[in-house]
């Protein structure tokens, strides 16, 4: 095959994305643009109480409304759902209990949205109000009332502890131990598109839902479970998402409601959530309190880390079991820690459920880790850049926790971003009030295991090739704005030597596309991409076999390039791609091929080792410049530099867009975003409400507020990835927050150990500094958390085999493994 290897013709070149025209001309049809004859509209009644028992839902008055067609309540949905098999704890409409203000209780379906709105007000619900739990510490202190009757104990949902080598010893043997507390406030995805769904029965009577979901496959499974209908009778079409960021991964109550209503009424039923409802559906960034102890030698070598996290989970499980792991597991991927221990606890609270948001669980510890490294560098009198370079993980190494690092361009990223930003001339040298800060990060190119246990591929692609020369790519992957359709089209075009104009992409439709697990965990480019490469290579092999005799060469010497097919040693002769297809179709019949992809088995073999492994990790290094007004604490960010190790940029325009989008979201989280709540005075009210469930009052940066971002893409193709391309959708967000915190320290010498970093906090720290107190704002204490006995695993270099051990030697008996 080597002789047929050609220079890349489609990939690596900046191209207009395949769905770009439809998007900028407004022709793309999002879920809320869909309309059908006889379509009805649904609205949800949501709980005004943070914690209550639903005693009754009275619908008599609502039923008098002339436009009303149907009322649904919790009694219509006896079967619960949950995106993860270990936390199936949610009903489409609350059956007995509401767990946050905004929990859906009932639905009305009416002739139009206006009528539905009016009828909704006529529903009468009787609640028995329970004491709300407003935060994780309150949840730990109050095992009763229990928000759920499952979980570890009381209001603890998940509680984990893992120790890789004796960390106590590693810290004792260090020259010093840095110990810090950090807090990262929760925030939400804020996609431009609010959730919308349209359900109807197709002419055969089968259920179809068009919905802006990131994961049509998981939604199909959950619909089948909740509605008790076999999967073949349900078709889920993921409409193009107007932004996902993790917020459209969980199935939503509204999706079950419109399906059920369509089944009952036999008419199309649509719902479009209001912006306020999107804040309640949430599943965004967990608020996380962290304690981080890191041992260091005088030479600046890390000896080990002990990380503890406490997550505010909100009212339901959602992806929480995974999120809990992610507040620990990716921490040792950027730097070499000879030993590592993490303990993580997720507590149920009476607020909208948290879940996966861009970076899923990892921005929080990454913030702490990178700020703490900055503090360590200062203590050692070392350039933070040098400290980082000294401790980088190496390509192919295993971490103490048995993650395989694979390819890494982090050193290149660091050197590049230092050069671009003029780090050596700026850090610690800018005039007072101005500073630069550095931070690094990594992220997975796809999670190593599926959300539900199975041995099947994570992604499948089917190609259909017809005599016109058109290639149709079928894949379950979902376009959420990240450019996955473009990736698929480009990879297939490249492999078959055609341009993307000959390729049509059909994605995210469980009725016609092979399963892909969904658009989450930055998995689509690598997993669907690898499946597409395999399918296209198979198709190319069929074509080569069919035409090689005519070309007078062997099949593996047939070249596909720029719409032509020719022998490697006779480029002047040959035929067009269309002629080759016709010849092959004549010989072989209708042409089609499938490809699929399963990630490699993770090296760790202990229980829990499935969270964190990935076929490849991306790496980023970022420098933020900050200006701080010392009189007001006002914070200004004039410039950000970032280098991202992407393996290969399949479409550099899209890749840069993703990097800048990530930086945007990171800076917004760093400086203002807060999914925060108001607990009214307890004597007067039991209310616990979202402070600002609106686009105006939930503060996030706009395009106009963005500084210039200078992007460098570090390209060193990764062998596990399609044409070497690693992820870019999530990683570039992660270093921005700590880089900003470090820049502020460089500018004015104060530490803000919590996110968001607002002017009032900066001013408070400056005032503390002026009074001779610790120049810091951040959490002051860490509550007592009943973490379990750790699962103990020896690091690879201490003779471990990836299995759980007894601390001090010897395998733990299988029976003891819980």
């Amino acid at each position: 095959m080597n002789e047929t290897k050609k220079r890349l013709e489609v990939l690596g070149k900046p191209r207009r994305r395949v769905d770009g025209r439809a998007k900028v001309t407004g022709q793309l049809r999002y879920a809320d643009d869909l309309s059908m004859p006889r379509m009805l509209h649904a609205k949800l009644l949501r709980s005004p109480h943070p914690h209550a028992i639903v005693e009754s839902v009275e619908a008599e008055k609502a039923k008098q409304h002339p436009g009303l067609k149907l009322v649904l309540t919790g009694q219509d949905f006896p079967v619960p759902f949950g995106i993860m098999p270990v936390s199936v704890d949610e009903y489409p409409l609350a059956r007995e209990r509401v767990r946050y203000v905004g929990d859906p209780v009932a639905a009305v379906i009416a002739v139009d949205e206006q009528a539905a709105t009016e009828a909704l007000r006529l529903l009468e619900v009787r609640y028995k109000v329970l004491k709300p739990i407003s935060g994780p510490q309150e949840g730990l202190e109050n095992p009763e009332p229990r928000i759920h009757d499952y979980g570890e104990q009381g209001n603890i949902h998940r509680n984990l502890s893992y120790e890789f080598g004796d960390v106590g010893e590693a810290l004792r043997n260090a020259d010093f131990v840095a110990e810090d507390l950090f807090f990262y406030q929760g925030n939400t995805h804020l996609p431009m598109e609010q959730q919308a769904s349209l359900a109807f029965l197709d002419p055969e009577g089968k259920l179809q839902i068009c919905s802006c979901t990131q994961n049509p496959h998981y939604l199909q499974r959950q619909l089948s479970r909740v509605l008790q209908i076999p999967e073949p009778r349900i078709r889920v079409v993921a409409t193009p998402n107007g932004g996902g960021f993790g917020g459209k991964c969980d199935p939503g109550g509204h999706e079950f409601v419109v399906c059920k209503a369509a089944l009952v009424l036999g008419r199309p039923v649509k719902i479009g959530l209001t912006r306020e409802e999107v804040f309640y559906v949430h599943r965004g960034r967990h608020p996380v309190l962290m304690r981080m102890k890191t041992g260091v030698t005088r030479e600046g070598k890390l000896t080990g880390m002990h990380l503890q996290t406490l997550l505010d989970g909100g009212g339901y499980g959602s992806h929480g079991p995974a999120s809990t792991f992610y507040t620990g597991v990716l921490t040792p991927v950027t730097y070499h820690y000879p030993r590592f221990k993490f303990e993580a606890c997720r507590v149920f609270t009476n607020k909208p459920a948290c879940g996966p948001k861009r970076g899923h669980g990892t921005p929080q510890p990454r913030f702490g880790q990178e700020v703490q490294l900055d503090k360590i560098a200062e203590r050692l009198g070392m350039d933070p850049l040098e400290l980082r370079l000294k401790n980088l993980t190496k390509a192919g190494e295993l971490t103490a926790s048995w993650l395989r690092v694979g390819s890494t361009g982090l050193e290149d990223c660091l050197r590049k971003v230092a050069a671009m930003s003029g780090w050596k001339d700026r850090h610690a040298q800018l005039p007072r009030g101005k500073g630069v800060g550095l931070a690094c990060s990594t992220y997975m190119s796809g999670a190593g295991v599926a959300i539900y246990w199975n041995k099947m591929p994570h992604s499948g692609v089917q190609l259909l090739l017809d005599r016109s020369g058109t290639v149709v790519v079928y894949c379950g992957a979902t376009e959420i704005g990240q450019g996955s359709d473009d990736v698929l089209a480009a990879i297939v075009a490249e492999t078959l030597g055609v341009d993307t104009g000959s390729v049509r992409v059909v994605t995210g439709d469980t009725g016609i596309t092979p399963v892909d697990l969904g658009s989450y965990s930055s998995r689509v480019t690598i997993m669907a991409g690898n499946a597409a490469v395999q399918a296209a290579e198979r198709l190319r092999a069929s074509l080569a076999t069919a035409v090689c005799e005519t070309l007078g060469t062997l099949p593996d010497r047939v070249v596909f390039s720029q719409g032509k097919v020719f022998a490697a040693d006779n480029a002047g002769a040959g035929m067009s791609f269309v002629e080759a297809v016709a010849m092959a179709e004549a010989q072989l019949g209708t042409l089609s091929a499938v490809g699929s992809y399963s990630p490699p088995k993770p090296p760790g073999r202990y229980k829990g080792a499935g969270v964190g492994p990935s076929p490849a990790y991306s790496f980023s290094a970022c420098v933020v410049q900050a200006e701080v007004d010392e009189r007001t604490g006002w914070l200004h960010v004039p410039k950000i530099w970032i280098a991202h190790d992407i393996g290969r940029a399949l479409n550099p325009v899209l890749a840069r867009g993703q990097v800048i989008g990530g930086v945007y979201m990171g800076l917004s989280e760093a400086t203002m975003e807060e999914q925060s709540f108001r607990r009214l005075p307890e004597k007067l009210s039991g209310a616990l409400v979202h402070r600002a469930p609106s686009m105006l009052d939930y503060k996030s940066l706009t395009a106009l507020d963005m500084p210039e971002v200078e992007v460098a893409l570090i390209e060193d193709p990764d062998p596990n990835c399609p044409y070497g391309a690693k992820e870019v959708g999530q990683g570039p967000l992660l270093p921005v927050m700590p880089a900003l915190a470090n820049a502020i320290y460089d500018a004015v010498g104060v530490r803000i150990d919590e996110i968001p970093i607002t002017p009032d906090k900066v001013l408070r720290a400056l005032e503390a500094k002026a009074r001779g107190k610790a120049p810091r704002v951040g959490p002051e204490s860490y509550p007592s958390v009943p973490y379990p006995e750790p699962t103990f695993v020896l690091p690879p270099w201490e003779g471990g085999d990836g299995n759980e051990m007894r601390k001090g030697g010897g395998k733990r008996a299988a029976a003891a493994v819980v």
């Binding site: 009189r631 009214l680 706009t702 009032d760």
Partner: protein, 336 residues
């Protein structure tokens, strides 16, 4: 999406006709101009007027000769070359370009007061059992307060107060002219002295002032003010002949800080004088925890913003500070 309640829509052609409709409909009718504040509020059921009386078709409200017609859009006010700096800067920093193209000068002056417990949907407000300003009995900002403390959030009013402007109100009994400051009551509910059957028709802005407006808000792109400082000076050589400083967004009404004006009179704008004036102004800022950002911090920076305003009027180059706080490039609208 959130739906509007049902309402009747009236579209008079003249102010007189509008006044007549208002008088006939009684308190159930409301005026609407650009609708950028009222219509979202109606969707949240802050107001559910029986009838909306639109001012859009009244040509006389859109004139600009000697005085500003209340129906001029904020974008038109900004674009007018004769608009004084403070008014231009204030109008240019209201919301977004789209809203400035719809929202009017009169509408911004009559902007409903705002509060984080009030500017929420009806469902949200139900979850806190409503509040004093609308449908409830407790002010959640200050639970002991008998008075609603919702914040005045108009940008143009403090600018116009500093500029010594007057508003014209037309009612059944004819037209009256009052100082802009007198248009407001320090009450989050009954915040306007405009009578229900009066139409705000225009604003008379005298010339001769050097003026500026500084707005504190979280984002430069769009946000309501959480502090507005407007300053206008008349100079006699390097001495202050007359000074007017007004604050916005730190009470239920915009107001003038007379003491600071008196203090500045006859003085040279030294750093010391500016700092003292700024302290006098900041002492009057009483922000509440009912809008964005930490309230103690908002109180703390009131003097800084006053200093920015006075130093800019002195002729200091504050373009860098402007860029950082307004997040706008120097010279965007900055000339005096």
């Amino acid at each position: 999406m959130l739906r509007l309640p049902w309402f009747e829509y009236r579209s008079p052609r003249t102010v007189a006709e509008a006044v007549k409709i208002l008088a006939g409909e009684g308190p159930g009718a409301m005026l609407v101009a650009g609708g950028t504040d009222l219509l979202p509020n109606m969707k949240r059921r802050h107001q559910s007027p029986k009838a909306l009386v639109s001012l859009r078709a009244i040509d006389e409200l859109r004139k600009l000769n000697g005085s500003y017609g209340a129906g001029l859009t904020l974008a038109e006010v900004v674009a007018h070359p004769g608009t004084p700096a403070a008014l231009r800067q204030a109008a240019a920093q209201v919301a977004t370009a789209q809203i400035r193209n719809m929202g009017t000068l009169g509408g911004n002056l009559c902007l409903d007061t705002r509060c984080t417990y009030y500017n929420q949907t009806e469902e949200w407000r139900k979850a806190i059992d409503y509040c004093l300003k609308k449908d409830g009995s407790v002010c959640w900002v200050a639970t002991a307060s008998k008075r609603c403390v919702a914040a005045s959030s108009t940008d143009t009013a403090p600018a116009l107060i500093a500029l010594d402007a007057k508003v014209k109100l037309a009612g059944p009994g004819g037209e009256r002219e009052i100082p802009v400051e007198a248009l407001y009551n320090n009450d989050g509910i009954d915040y306007l002295s405009r009578k229900p059957d009066e139409v705000l028709t225009g604003v008379v802005v005298p010339g001769g002032w050097q003026s500026t407006y500084w707005k504190l808000r979280r984002r430069g792109s769009f946000d309501f003010p959480i502090l507005g400082v407007a300053a206008a000076l008349k100079m006699d050589g390097d001495l202050v002949a007359e000074a007017r400083i007004a604050l916005g967004a730190v009470a239920s009404r915009p107001f003038r800080v007379d003491k600071a004006g008196e203090f500045l009179k006859g003085k040279r704008l030294s750093d010391q004088v500016i700092a003292e004036a700024a302290t006098l102004v900041a002492n009057r800022a009483k922000p509440m925890d009912n809008t964005d950002m930490d309230l103690y911090w908002r109180k703390e920076v009131a003097d800084d913003f006053t200093e920015y305003a006075l130093k800019e009027l002195r002729g200091d180059d504050l373009s860098a500070v402007r860029t950082r706080t307004a997040r706008r490039q120097p010279g965007w609208i900055g000339h005096r």
